[in-house]
Amino acid sequence: MTLSDLAPFLEFSPPELTAIILSLKVAGVATVASLPVAVFIAYALARWRFPGHAALNAIIHLPLVMPPVVTGFALLLLLGRKAPLGAFLADHFGIVFAFRWTGAALAAAVMSFPLMIRPIRLSFESIDERLGLAARSLGANRLWTFFLVTLPLAAPGVIVGTILGFAKALGEFGATITFVSNIPGETRTIPSAIYSLTQTPEGDADALRLAAVSAAIAITALVVSEILQKRADATRAGR
């Protein structure tokens, strides 16, 4: 088998291409938008003791253990067009999640959040808190200390969390299809497209192709995260 034999296999039809691009957009937006929140909550869970600490931790991890359909259904109940919060956001800010790609991004963000937050939190916990005190004594206020000392030291965890979150967001299916359905060009991401193809006769070959793309992206993400973490560890060890 030569490369030219492979060419037809790698030639995507317009709907497939749309699904791939949409998937990247949804996962990208979900990751970028949830990263600052994840960093903040990871820091709070790692460093602060406050009432509701355990409850917050549990809520964040719920999507990991609940059936994704339930998470999607919960989002629908909360942010659907007729739901109180959904209607309020639509009327006052013009923000609509239901059956839009933004909703797919939200579902992906919620589902990938626990995976994203865990390495970031572990990273914060592994930093000697007295380094922050040293920075404070040298004149840096809390904000400077966070951005000059704490966050750079947590960078390996932040990078790993981002990549894991992105990979998870790309693969999100259950919550997405429940919350925003499976609309071509709007909410039909790679997993939804694969699902649709498996429901049509003769669709298996196309499904296999998209599955391969999906696996390739996921494996690349894992390899990159591994390399970055190794490099960060080496830097920290002073080499």
Binding site: A134, S137, T235
Partner: protein
């Protein structure tokens, strides 16, 4: 000038401490758990007291009655930690300049080049902080604290994790910092030799209370009797003028009001005064100035106290001519055999070989 009057309670531990000092190097001394580190952290602002006041050179940092508690980043107090706590993701240069970046331009009194020169960290500047040895880390830590031009340097056991030679080296550097940059230093330490060599004054703590404050040689001699180190941790410090170096024998003579101290080394720091540390176990006693004996150092004084219990040992406290005190460890047997009593004149004999140059610290050139 540092003035502290604070109380703090954390679970079982309670701290109640009030002191004032004008010393150039003030030591906080005590066993672990005595609260000396907590007290240093209170001064630096890393911990807030339940009640009390803290002021440095007239600047109020804490006054709970007025709800004043200046945050650590506004206190301008340089902190040096036992393990240096350099920022591992930054190189040495960035580490050193970290505090300077946050110091208002008008208050950047301490020049970068002078610090790098004095602490000998020039060749390390491009290295990563994680790649330094213990002594190097500590020097970089000192440079970093110094370059924020602090009103006070707080050093929390800065030499506790270093070996003997590195400790001597860091002590020499601390003396140079004191003399070159005239920044007062608060030194937290449990090591008597560090305090005797460096400090002008010591505050001694035990279980959260101040048990003594005063000259290091007097305060520590009293305190170390009860500590775990026993007879080997009792050390006296004598201040003397560096005299002539006898090249023929390789010895240096130090002039002390009570007599000549002979050191088996070439003491090089010129016209300075030095502080010689003498272990109580290296001091012998004699009623007359002996002639037929190998010991060349015989200092004259009188016995002011004999500290003994049921054990075999006695600590004889001697006030030398000139007012300084020296402690000699002897057996109770010899105290009785020699008929030593408080008030009697005595010669203290110190073997020259027990003194070595590294035990000599540069003495304070001037005391406030």
């Amino acid at each position: 000038m540092i003035a502290v009057d604070v109380t703090l309670k954390r679970g079982e531990f309670s701290l109640e401490a009030a002191f004032e000092s004008k010393a150039r190097i003030l030591a906080l001394h005590g066993p672990s758990g005595s609260g000396k580190t907590t007290l240093a952290h209170l001064v630096a602002g890393l911990v807030a007291p339940d009640a009390g006041r803290i002021a440095i050179n007239g600047a109020r940092l804490v006054d709970t009655a007025q709800r004043l508690n200046v945050p650590p980043e506004k206190r301008r107090i340089g902190l040096v930690f036992q393990d240096a706590l350099l920022f591992p993701h930054l190189d040495v240069r960035t580490n050193i300049l970290f505090g300077r970046f946050f110091t208002p331009k008008a208050e950047r009194r301490v020049p970068f080049d002078a610090v790098v020169e004095t602490l000998g960290v020039g060749h390390l500047l491009r290295r990563r902080a994680g790649a330094l040895s213990g002594g190097e880390r500590q020097r970089v830590g000192l440079a970093r604290a110094l370059l924020c031009s602090p009103r006070l340097l707080v050093m929390d056991e800065p030499m506790a994790s270093l070996d003997y030679d590195r400790r001597q080296e860091i002590m020499t550097l601390i003396e140079r910092l004191r003399d070159e940059f005239s920044i007062p230093i608060l030194l937290v330490s449990h090591a008597a030799d560090e305090i005797l060599r460096l400090a002008d004054e010591v505050v001694s703590l035990d279980r959260g209370r101040i048990v003594a404050q005063g000259l290091p040689s007097e305060t520590l001699a009293a305190a170390s009797r009860i500590t775990e180190g026993g007879r080997f941790s009792v050390v006296s410090a004598l201040e003397a003028q560096v005299g002539a170096f006898d090249a023929r024998y390789g010895v240096t003579r130090l002039d002390h009001p009570a007599g000549e101290i002979v050191v088996a080394a070439h003491v090089t720091n010129g016209e300075r005064k030095v502080r010689a540390l003498i272990n109580a176990t290296d001091v012998a006693l004699s009623h007359r100035k002996p002639a037929d004996i190998s010991i060349r150092t015989a200092l004259e004084g009188k016995i002011v106290a004999i500290d003994e219990d049921d054990g075999p040992l006695a600590f004889v406290h001697i006030e030398l001519i000139g007012g300084e005190r020296l402690v000699s460890a002897a057996t109770r047997l010899s105290v009785d055999a020699m008929n030593l009593t408080v008030g009697s004149a005595i010669f203290t004999l110190v073997k020259s070989v027990a003194l070595d140059e590294r035990e000599l610290g540069a003495g304070a050139t001037a005391r406030e």
